[in-house]
């Protein structure tokens, strides 16, 4: 169990927790109950966004504490979409002949390259999410952009990275996925693994033991941004920092540097950008309820306030949640902004020329 004894109850975590603004959730209170009364009720409201740990003066890692509490017992009731994606992961680990995720993408592919692209669960999202997002397009756009900067990647078919399984408490499933994936990656001999999902990026980097370079698509595009050569005629956009890319992995500049290379593009920052960025509202499909919705709506409204045409994000999950509320049937209101993944946004600009 992650060590939280250091907590001296200053309350900063609770003061800054986004869930506290709409409920009575208090990380500090939970820690106190645990330390003094050994109360181990699982915390399903926590977004694991990391704001609390970022500022905690005693370096308490509340996220690891929540993750370890959840390992005690899974609660299917709190997982949205009837936990279909967790079931998919379970099948991936229980079915002996299970394959990795589909890798049917067009473009210049070189299966001998030592730079591999991993699309993640994008095609599964297309099967079961009706939120107005073409998830396959995110993978396709990533390949297109990699080709544009002169990289012919290998497409690596791993199983789901297991991020959701880990944070939902399915530790056996996570360990099985991790073992399989680590072996496959080792066998492949690749030196660089690129993913367009912030959650895969964090999971491979922090929760796996891998001996190679792991990059988010924004990072590899940033490295080669001079080769992008993309332009637009005066579009205003804003950017949402995904928790797993920003606070968890410290990557704030890469997507911004990539966008700054698009001629004619203006990037307006949200007032809670970078380290203080508010979570989109949902993590690992857990606790999708009116409280979570409040945060999603807040993020959309803040984006609209910047007068941007598009809210760009760098995680297919954030993209899913934001679009889910935006395209609700019937819609809550008319959210006058597009929400797109960074790769799709850039890719569309290339097509337009």
């Amino acid at each position: 169990m992650a060590l939280v004894n250091n907590c001296y109850h200053c309350g900063l975590c609770t003061g800054i927790c986004p869930k506290r603004r709409i409920s009575k959730y208090s990380p500090r209170f939970k820690i106190n109950k645990f330390l003094l009364e050994n109360e181990r009720n699982v915390s399903w409201e926590c977004l694991t966004c990391g704001l609390c740990s970022q500022y905690c003066p005693q370096d308490v890692n509340y996220l690891d504490f929540v993750r370890d509490l959840r390992k005690q017992e899974v609660d299917e009731e709190v997982i949205a979409h009837k936990s279909i994606f967790s079931l998919i992961c379970e099948i991936m680990t229980e079915y002996p002949d299970a394959q990795g995720v589909p890798t049917d993408f067009k473009g210049e592919i070189d299966q001998n390259s030592d730079v591999a692209y991993f699309p993640g669960c994008l095609d599964f999202f297309d099967c079961f999410l009706d939120v107005g997002v073409d998830f396959h397009e995110i993978g396709q756009s990533s390949i297109k952009l990699l080709n544009r900067i002169g990289i012919k990647p290998r497409i690596l078919s791993l199983k789901c990275c297991g991020h959701d399984a880990l944070w939902q408490g399915y530790s056996a499933t996570f360990n099985a996925l991790r073992k399989w994936n680590e072996e496959k990656i080792k066998e492949s001999g690749i030196k660089t693994l690129v993913t367009s999902c912030a959650e895969c990026f964090r999971t491979f980097s922090k929760d796996y033991e891998l001996d190679l370079e792991i990059m988010h698509i924004s990072q590899i595009l940033e490295k080669n941004r001079d080769k992008l050569k993309i332009e637009t005629n005066g579009t205003i956009v804003t950017y949402h920092d995904p928790c797993r890319l920003g606070r968890h992995m410290g990557v704030y500049d890469a997507p911004r540097n990539v966008l700054s290379k698009v001629k004619g593009l203006t990037l307006k920052e949200l007032d809670d950008a970078r380290e203080d960025a508010q979570c989109c509202g949902i993590s690992a499909w857990i606790s999708c309820n009116p409280e979570a919705k409040f945060l999603v709506v807040e993020k959309l409204e803040k984006a609209i306030d910047t007068n941007s045409k598009t809210l760009i994000t760098a995680c297919p999950k954030c993209c899913a949640h934001l679009n889910c509320i935006k395209n609700e049937k019937p819609p809550m209101k008319d959210f006058n902004i597009n929400v797109e993944d960074l790769t799709v946004f850039l890719s569309k600009l290339i097509d337009r020329r």
Binding site: H81, K82, I88, D97, A98
Partner: protein
């Protein structure tokens, strides 16, 4: 059928208004079909969430049959159109995972089609005998947690 021969376990989701009635009719008409099915009655085939299907396979079902009204005859007007879309996507997802999509079957069976119900079960059972048992052999006790 010898005792050692593999008997597939088929989970059937049958809609109340058409397919379940069809199954009923097959029974009342004494039409013989293999005792491989376990029927779950739902009000409409669109009630069947893909998660139920995956769960069934995880729990050891060798085949899942989703039966609803013919298109245009749904008691709730559009329900079975959703069913069709969902089951097709579920089959795609199963293929993505390398799991035999043939173990999932969608049929439109009306209340008067007792024989059809029996035929479908018979055919499906034979197919599954060819495919063999589901390689996932889990019970509720082994489930994750």
């Amino acid at each position: 059928m010898t005792e050692n021969e593999f008997q597939p376990k088929i989970v059937v989701f049958a809609c109340n208004w058409c397919s379940y009635a069809g199954a009923d009719l097959a029974g009342v008409s004494r039409i013989q079909y293999p005792p491989t099915i376990r029927i779950i009655r739902v009000m409409c085939s669109s009630r069947v969430d893909p998660a139920f299907i995956l769960k069934a396979f995880l729990r050891g079902a060798d085949g899942v049959l989703v039966a609803g009204c013919h298109l245009g005859d749904c008691h709730y007007i559009e329900g079975n159109y959703n069913t069709e879309k969902r089951i097709k996507e579920t089959m795609k997802a199963l293929e993505h995972m390398g799991f035999e999509a043939k173990r999932l079957r969608l049929e439109w069976i009306s209340a008067s089609e007792g024989p059809k119900f029996a035929n479908v079960v018979r055919e499906f059972t034979e197919e599954l005998k060819e495919l063999g048992p589901n390689h996932i052999r889990k019970t509720g006790d082994d489930a994750n947690g």
